[in-house]
Symmetry: C2
Subunit: 66 residues, 2 copies
C-alpha cells in the first residue's frame, strides 16, 4: 500500500481530502498537512519527517507549490 | 466590485480561500460555501440564495462540480 500525503499552503490540503472523502468515502491511506501562517518551514519539515518515520509504506506526496 | 463565491463539495472551498489568503492576504470580496454531508441540496441552494440577496454586487461563482 502507498500512503498519500497532500501537503499545501493553509487549509487547502484538508479541504481537498474532505471533499474527496465526501464523494468517495473515508480513505485509510490519505493524509493532509497544511503550512499555516504561524509555521516556520522547519516546523513543517519536522511534521513531514515525523509522518514519514511513522509508516513503512511508500509515500506519494502531492503538493500545491514547491 | 464583484463578489466571488467559491462553492464546492465539503471543505474544499474553505481550504482554497484559506490558502489564497495565506499567500496574498485577506480578501474582502471572496467567500466560500461548502456542501456538507448532512446538507440537502435545498439547504445549500438556500445558503447561496441568502448570500445573493445580501449583496448588490455582481457575483462570480466558482465551483468544483456541477
Amino acid at each position: 500500500m502507498t500512503d498519500i500525503i497532500v501537503a499545501t499552503h493553509g487549509g487547502l490540503a484538508e479541504g481537498m481530502v474532505d471533499a474527496l472523502e465526501l464523494i468517495i468515502g473515508k480513505q485509510e491511506n490519505i493524509w493532509f498537512l497544511g503550512l499555516r501562517h504561524e509555521d516556520s518551514i522547519d516546523t513543517f519539515i519536522k511534521r513531514v519527517d515525523s509522518f514519514a518515520a511513522d509508516t513503512d509504506h511508500d509515500i506519494l506526496f502531492m503538493t500545491d507549490l514547491l
